[in-house]
């Protein structure tokens, strides 16, 4: 059919014959069809630019985003640009065929960033710990690999056990297409909203827990456990723990993100495995990955199944001080029984400080009252017991055990060449068992630089210990239950009783953290240091002595909390650490964005303005937009179809204004060459015209000889500036209009500007795009002029980009009345910034013009309603 239409139209192109009524109707329909393509092209162009804006914003790294954002934004922008290519092909069949090739080439380059090739794990589903070493980390996760490596190399005692490898994990996730379902649910969720995140997390965890294990994995698990029990000659209860791949990613602690299940018997092993896997999608772990820019696929969950240790005591050893890089002492936190309370921060624990020397020396110890302990009984499982007699107040390690532990820590540190965070237990035979170790992150304390506490500062609370150094101010928010977490406001001071790992998900919103219990060895402290959130743990009665919404300043270095803001202290506040910029997810988006955002095709008259030169999706949008406008103008003229040719506006403004009615821009059929303003019903054009005609133009500014010479010199080197040279749109101003659309291309004086706007009831689609380029003066004056326009527009909320002397201003998604006001401003500027480039070197004259233009705009707008303040809100998703 297209061929037939083309043959039909070419008849009018070649001989200038007037169409019959039926032919005219066909032409009208063809024009409507072209306009439909044109409008769809503009919509797609508009959306593509919006997505590019979102990508640019995301790449600033100030807000977290996941791979779902990378995938959906790249898919969105690719779809839009592909549609643009299809629409331009419909407007000019066969003319810009090379665009398809350029588009495909760009897509091929974007693909690896959006869908990075996944490494298929090669190896057994389950591996006994005895056959694991450091080189197996990609299969077993670094936690289990380190454990096995240290047992082998340093002859340290570790529990017997086996690991469900990344192959085992993938086998589970592939069964029932779990990963695809997780991705689908994640895409449909606004993960930044805590309530949505909680709902998503619950749904995914249920999905995992309810999925059956594939038979081969089920058998492999049962076999491994049977073998362990055969060697031990008895039933062996297991501790089932995470050993996710990527837990050793640079600077990422993953502390306390995942679940550990203790005392697991044979029947419960499959469920325990699934629970640990499900904890990868717990709110803390999902929030953590989101804010650290870690891809979900990058952290397959390997699971260690280790023999339970009958722990007399247990805890955590830091081979250095995590909050003071200059302090070389070793720090041991310990408690009776299992080390649960040390890592989950739920109770006070013993603390031993050991001086690094040969041999090491126990320098200090703090022994609090420990009323409870956790133990594991083969039948009952993990039980909480009350400590009896003197035990509650006695150290849980002897001096020699402390020193033996310190020596073990130093050997591990020495082996890895960096400070370590070591979890250990003391078994019933008083043997030290290594449970886990990982690199320790240290922070630099600025305490020494800070002023001494001034007695006049209103101290309201002090005590505890620095879990993460720094200073912050904000309003207190007391968190006692999960529901409080949903209400936690950004920038508040998180105050809670126990330093539970689950509060880690609030740290991206908290300014500081205060707890009544917990130690700097706990998971929450680890994450606080990682996010550089000042934290004080062990502050007595913090939740009762601080009131909700009370404004405070937290000095975590001095363990003091003051009422109100103490600016002398806050001067030492660290800039919050940007964990997103440079992260893996960020790198993926950045890589893709290099093929999406940069704009190389700036000059439509230049030799490079060709489909083959489009190197990015932005280039394609720019090229197609320019050509689409051109093709729309061509139609009426090329087909000798006056009804759809441009008309000249009869107006009092002394320039030529030509108007092409694309669809419903006139209120009547206009015969002849001229159109009256009252026949024009285009909402954006009338708004623009109101600005253009608001005040008569006073002519070019009085110019000094330098400015004049600058223009004359440029005219000798740039022929396009000479009024006698005809370019495509020379010295005429063209409007293309419909009821809701308007595009004005104007060449006023030596500059070239385009205003394009869609203004209607569909608020989400409303936009104004203003492009300004050129001028008669030299480059620096032209540049100053676009900066001058930028200064005028930015206060109104326009988003401005400047490249060379090319300015682009954009605003979108405001209601119609507001868009009309913005168009008036642009109409006014289109006329009244003419030839100002000549006076750009004179700051005083410039200031005068700036003031005058702003005052005139105010007067013009005062006659109408003021612009609304904010874009419309979404109406609800499905």
């Amino acid at each position: 059919m297209i061929k037939r239409l083309r043959a039909f139209f070419s008849k009018f192109q070649s001989n200038g014959q007037q169409p019959t009524a039926a032919e005219a109707e066909a032409l009208r329909i063809a024009f409507k069809d072209r306009y439909h393509h044109f409008k769809q092209l503009l919509n797609a162009n508009n959306r593509a630019l919006e997505v590019m804006g979102e990508i640019e914003k995301a790449l600033r790294g100030t807000t977290p985003f996941g791979m779902q954002f990378v995938r959906s934004s790249c898919t969105r922008v690719s779809t839009d640009v592909f549609q643009i290519v299809q629409h331009i092909a419909a407007l000019a069949p066969g003319k810009y065929g090379a665009l398809q090739t350029s588009f495909k080439a760009i897509q091929t380059q974007i693909n690896p960033f959006v869908y990075p090739p996944a490494a298929e794990p090669q190896g057994p589903l389950v591996m006994p710990l005895g056959s694991v070493d450091r080189a197996s980390a990609d299969l077993t996760g670094p936690k289990m690999a380190n454990l096995a490596e240290l047992a082998r190399q340093l002859n340290l005692k570790i529990p017997h056990g086996f690991v469900v490898t990344s192959t085992g994990f993938e086998c589970f996730m592939k069964s029932g297409d779990l990963q695809a379902e997780i991705n689908r649910r994640t895409q449909a969720t606004e993960i930044e909203r805590p309530d949505h995140l909680y709902a998503l997390s619950t749904a995914i965890q249920q999905l995992i827990i309810q999925s059956p294990l594939p038979d081969e994995l089920s058998r492999a698990l049962a076999d491994a456990q049977e073998q362990m029990e055969a060697v031990a000659g008895k039933h062996v209860p297991l501790a089932v723990r995470s050993s996710a791949i990527g837990e050793d990613l640079s600077g990422a602690s993953f502390a306390g993100q995942y679940r550990s299940i203790l005392n697991v018997g044979r029947e419960a092993l499959a469920d325990a495995f699934k629970e640990v896997v499900a904890s990868k999608y717990g709110p803390p772990a999902m929030t953590y990955r989101l804010h650290r820019g870690i891809r979900d696929e990058e952290v397959p969950m390997c699971v260690g199944c280790l023999q339970m240790v009958d722990a007399k005591a247990g805890g955590v050893l830091y081979t250095r001080n995590p909050v003071d890089i200059r302090n070389e002492a070793l720090i041991i936190h310990a408690t009776w029984g299992l080390p649960k309370t040390v890592v989950d921060g739920s109770a006070a624990t013993d603390q031993f400080i050991v001086r690094r020397s040969s041999p090491p020396v126990l320098a200090e110890q703090h022994i609090p009252h420990k009323p409870q302990r956790y133990v594991c009984y083969p039948e009952e499982g993990v039980c909480r017991l009350t400590t009896t007699g003197d035990q509650a107040d006695s150290p849980c390690l002897t001096d020699s055990q402390v020193l033996a532990l310190a020596e073990m820590g130093m050997r591990i540190e020495n082996y890895y060449g960096q400070p370590q965070d070591v979890e250990w237990a003391l078994d019933a035979d008083d043997q030290l068992i290594l449970l886990q170790c990982r690199p320790l992150q240290q922070t630099v304390s600025r305490a020494a630089e800070m002023p001494p506490a001034d007695p006049r500062w209103p101290l309201c609370l002090q005590g505890g210990q620095t879990a993460s150094s720094g200073v912050a101010a904000g309003k207190v928010f007391i968190v006692t239950k999960e529901a409080d977490a949903l209400q936690f406001p950004k920038g508040a001071i998180l105050v809670t009783v126990q330093a539970l790992p689950r509060w880690a998900m609030l740290l991206n919103r908290a300014a500081a953290l205060i707890t009544e219990q917990g130690s700097l060895a706990g998971h929450l402290a680890n994450v606080a240091r990682e996010f550089q959130i000042p934290a004080i743990f062990g502050v007595p009665e913090a939740t009762t002595r601080l009131a909700s919404r009370q404004a405070v300043t937290v000095d975590a270095n001095g363990c003091k909390i003051y009422s109100g803001r103490i600016d002398e202290l806050l001067a030492f506040r660290d800039t919050p650490r940007n964990l997103m910029a440079g992260s893996r997810v960020w790198q993926m988006l950045d890589g893709a964005a290099k093929m999406i955002i940069p704009l190389h095709l700036l000059n439509p008259d230049g030799p490079d303005f060709r489909p083959e030169r489009c190197r990015t999706l932005h280039d394609i949008t720019r090229f197609c937009h320019e050509k689409a406008v051109h093709e729309m103008f061509r139609f009426g003229k090329a087909h000798h179809f006056p009804e759809r040719s441009s008309k000249q506006l009869r107006a009092q403004v002394p320039m030529q204004w030509w108007i092409l009615n694309l669809d419903d821009g006139f209120n009547t059929e206009v015969e002849g060459q001229y159109v009256e303003l009252e026949n024009i019903v285009s909402i954006p054009m009338r708004a623009l015209w109101a600005g253009i005609s608001a005040q008569p133009w006073e002519g070019p500014p009085p110019v000094d000889s330098k400015g004049f010479m600058s223009v004359m010199f440029q005219a000798t080197t740039n022929k396009a500036l000479l009024p006698t040279v005809r370019t495509t749109m020379t010295n005429r101003n063209y409007f293309m209009i419909s009821k809701n659309y308007c595009s004005l291309q104007s060449r006023l004086g030596f500059h070239f500007s385009i205003v394009e706007a869609l203004v209607g009831e569909r608020t989400g689609e409303n936009y104004i795009n203003f492009t300004f380029k050129g001028g008669g003066a030299d480059f620096s004056r032209r540049l100053k002029r676009v900066q001058f326009i930028q200064e005028l527009l930015e206060p109104y909320g326009f988003r401005i980009t400047i490249k060379e002397d090319h300015l682009n201003a954009r605003i979108e998604q405001y209601i119609m009345s507001t868009m009309i006001q913005y168009l008036k401003i642009l109409g006014f500027l289109t006329i009244h910034t003419r030839q100002l480039d000549m006076i750009m070197a004179n700051p005083n004259v410039l200031a005068h013009y700036r003031q005058k233009i702003l005052a005139d705009i105010d007067t013009m707008l005062a006659a109408d309603t003021p612009p609304a303040a904010a874009p419309s809100a979404a109406t609800g998703n499905v």
Partner: protein
């Protein structure tokens, strides 16, 4: 809007029912089915202008259903909707003649506008054919 008839195809019945309910509330003449074959059966029985099609469905997937719809009813406009963003599927679908490729979650008004735009395209195509027929006569 009255003459516009739309069909929503999605195997997630809860999602489908919610979307249909909300669009009906806004005056849309729309019905829902939960698979590609059901959609083809409806199209064989009654005139539909626009189909909103989920991409990932058990049995006949969205791409296969799109291919069949466009083959049998080239003037019916199909809007693809998916919870699994895929550049490849988007381009493939557009090449097969889909009107657009949208991702969940989607603003309900945006979806309605998209259906209206697709309907406008269909009407223009029909008018174009009619006008060519007239000229031939």
């Amino acid at each position: 809007m009255e003459s516009l008839k739309a069909l929503f195809v999605d195997d997630e019945t809860e999602y489908l029912q919610t979307a249909i309910k909300r669009m009906k509330k806004r005056g849309m003449n729309i019905i829902g089915v939960s698979s590609g074959p059901e959609a083809l059966a409806i199209l064989a029985e009654q005139k539909m202008d626009v189909v909103v099609m989920d991409m990932r469905m058990p049995g006949m997937d969205g791409i296969q259903a799109l291919r069949e719809v466009k083959q049998l009813y080239p003037l019916v406009e199909v809007i693809m909707l998916t919870g699994h963003a895929s550049m490849e599927a988007a381009i493939q679908g557009m090449e097969l003649g889909a009107f657009d490729y949208l991702m969940k979650p989607i603003d309900i008004d945006e979806l309605i506008y998209k259906i209206q735009d697709a309907f406008q395209k269909r009407q223009l195509q029909i008018k174009k054919i009619e006008s060519m027929e007239k000229m031939r006569r």
